[in-house]
């Protein structure tokens, strides 16, 4: 269970960042009073354009960032006060987080298993299961740097799931993957959901959200503008598909403040 309560995250910008983003304000509100609840057994999708605040929200959930305002509870633990307990219950994946290229997938799996306090028997059992599912077993002794991009991503996913976490957070799960690998990743997210896990992803790919997510929250300019199942969103916006719904909302909320 993830409970985000009134999450606000403000970044202070350095002079250089202000120049890069062509702004005169030295603050950037990446998340603006976001409240949402995601329950076990569902895939929750945060949908929004680039820079809307999806990654910031997920990083706050994963304890990597501290909320400026509001609080987040994961499996009942506060992300600020009980960061280690939260991290013990989650897997957090993004394209930016990578496995050490000098080691084999097998070694990294064992290393992170140990960091989670697992013993070798538990680790081996998990490894056989996950490596088999992702087809890594054959390459498990090769150094990560020798693997293909898709295989690297699959290895990273397998390793992040070593401790059988209750919550899986995935920032842009299919970003940069070929369609075959992307499919195997999204398929596995469904498997996780069916096992009763809570999966929360961010995406800007509408078809992903449409097909994959049980619940969708659309974020525009740091604000959650709508939430619900696909059907609920279509009904509320009075549109036929998610793309139309998204652009309706985008027109409405992106214009504000400008």
């Amino acid at each position: 269970m993830i409970e985000i309560n009134n999450l606000t995250k403000i970044y202070k910008l350095s002079k250089k960042q202000m120049q890069e983003q062509k702004t005169k304000k030295n603050m950037k509100k990446a998340a603006d009073h976001i409240t949402l609840t995601a329950k076990p057994g569902q895939i929750y999708g945060l949908l929004g354009p680039n820079g809307a605040g999806k990654t910031t929200t997920l990083r706050c959930v994963a304890t990597l960032l501290k909320p400026t305002e509001g609080d987040i509870k994961v499996c009942g633990f506060d992300t600020v006060k009980e960061g280690e307990k939260v991290r013990d219950n989650i897997a957090f994946l993004t394209n930016e987080i990578k496995l050490d290229p000098h080691f084999s997938a097998k070694y990294m799996f064992q290393f992170f298993g140990h960091l989670h306090g697992m013993n070798d028997a538990e680790i081996n059992e998990r490894r056989e299961k996950l490596f088999k599912y992702f087809g890594i077993t054959e390459f498990q002794d090769k150094k990560i740097e020798e693997l293909s991009t898709g295989m690297k991503q699959k290895a990273a996913i397998a390793v992040s799931l070593v401790h059988d976490p209750k919550v899986v957070i995935f920032d842009e799960p299919t970003n940069g993957l070929d369609i075959v690998t992307a499919r195997s990743v999204t398929d596995y997210l469904r498997v996780l959901r069916d096992e009763g896990k809570l999966v929360i992803i961010s995406t800007h790919i509408l078809s992903d959200a449409e097909k994959l997510c049980d619940n969708i929250g659309i974020i525009i300019k740091g604000k959650k503008v709508i939430e619900g199942t696909l059907q609920e969103i279509l009904t509320k916006t009075n549109t036929k598909d998610l793309e139309d719904a998204f652009f309706e909302l985008y027109k409405e909320y992106n214009m504000e403040e400008e």
Binding site: I97, K98, H102, F103, F111
Partner: protein, 403 residues
């Protein structure tokens, strides 16, 4: 500490599981250094031999009668040409200047007569030697000619004039120099080592830390592999401890390999001088030396690590670390030239400089506890402060995620 232990294990595996890395971290630098010293030693030997083997071309103008006999008896080796009084010597001087001839010796006209007919107040005859001090062949030929030919000749002419030379010797000073030098050979040879070792040790320790720490921290940050550790349930303090301890272990190993190879390479470099340099340390001194080196490694690791944590790329980290390296070299060099005045006890508490002073004093066999303890205290305290800074940086989202 479970996390720290796992991280140390991983970092060590990373290095020792990679033959290329073992080679580039431990073997290559040492091989280069030993090779360099070997080459330097060989070249200087070769140069000496070459100068010794060279037969200098020597010109003598107005040679006094009987000098051939003196030269032959002295054993001076040279290709000698005798010139007459009026002959032009300018072209020979030019050739000495450009290095193709080695020596021109010019006696005054009527040299022997002037000596024989000397009365008090008359002009003293002169021998002029023209040579080029910047040419090895020329200056060696001149030194040898003066010592082997002119000096004995002067002595024998003096004996002719005065009779017994003792008449003009009023008193002697130190006939046997070995008897009069009251020197502690241990301390004297320690002095030579004490001058160089602090410099080398502080420098080599830093060099070892530099290459390892930047890769282990900024490198991991850049590659995105540090983030994967930050989302694991390991405390940040454990991650920092794991990183710092493993870097310290690797740096110490690299420093030890350096130190051992120095011991073997140094004699080759210094030739004969090395036979005089021998030092034996007591167990207490060895322990002191090890404690000093470990405290220095800890300090260096923390300094390079905090820079690496804040740097956004390896290039940036190296840019910041290089000036620090120069600072460390300077601190080591100051002790090389600190002279005889014992610095104030408080000076020992200055990190790096105090440690260099301690190493120097150990080599000279006179490190006091009141100097040793402030040195260790100062170094460790600064290391702890910086480590606290690193832990803080690991908790900072700005530093870790550029947020």
């Amino acid at each position: 500490m479970r996390g720290a232990r796992e991280i140390i294990k991983k970092e060590l595996n990373r290095v020792f599981g990679d033959k290329k890395l073992i080679f580039s971290l431990f073997i290559l630098p040492v091989a280069l250094m030993v090779g360099m010293f070997f080459l330097m030693g060989n070249l200087s030997d070769k140069m000496e031999n070459d100068v010794d083997a060279h037969v200098p071309s020597v010109y003598i103008q107005n040679a006094p009668e009987g000098i051939e006999g003196v030269i032959e008896a002295s054993g001076f080796q040279g290709d000698i040409t005798y010139l007459k009084a009026g002959e032009n010597i300018d072209s020979i001087k030019d050739e000495i200047l450009n290095g193709s001839k080695d020596l021109l010796v010019s006696f005054d006209e009527g040299f022997m007569d002037a000596i024989k007919n000397y009365t008090e107040g008359s002009a003293i005859p002169e021998v002029k030697t023209y040579y080029n001090p910047s040419e090895e062949y020329s200056s060696t030929a001149r030194t040898n000619f003066v010592a082997m030919v002119l000096e004995p000749m002067k002595q024998s002419l003096l004996t002719n004039r005065i009779g017994n030379l003792d008449n003009i010797t009023i008193f002697n000073i130190d006939l046997k120099i070995e008897d009069s030098q009251l020197v502690d050979t241990q301390k004297a040879s320690g002095k030579a080592l004490g001058m160089m070792l602090p410099y080398f040790i502080t420098m080599l320790l830093f060099a070892g830390v530099m290459s390892i720490a930047v890769d282990a921290i900024t490198g991991e940050k850049e590659r995105g592999t540090l983030a994967s550790m930050l989302v694991s349930p390991v405390r940040r303090v454990d991650i920092v401890a794991g990183k710092l301890i493993s870097i310290s272990i690797l740096s110490s190993i690299s420093a030890i390999i350096y130190a051992i190879s120095m011991v073997f390479a140094l004699p080759k470099m210094m030739g004969e001088m090395s036979s005089e340099i021998s030092i034996s340390l007591s167990p207490v001194q060895i322990i002191q030396l090890i404690v000093i080196m470990l405290s220095l490694v800890f300090l260096y690791v923390s300094v390079v690590s905090i820079v690496s944590v804040y740097a956004k790329s390896m290039k940036e980290a190296n840019t910041y670390v290089t000036p620090m390296y120069i600072l460390v070299i300077v601190a080591g060099m100051i002790t090389m030239f600190s002279g005889n005045n014992t610095p104030d006890t408080m000076m020992f508490a200055i990190p790096v400089y105090g440690s260099a002073l301690c190493i120097q004093n150990i080599m000279e066999g006179e490190l006091l506890m009141s100097q040793f303890l402030p040195a260790i205290g100062g170094t460790v305290l600064l290391g702890i402060l910086i480590t606290a800074g690193i832990v803080k940086a690991f908790n900072s989202e700005k530093v870790m995620f550029n947020a």
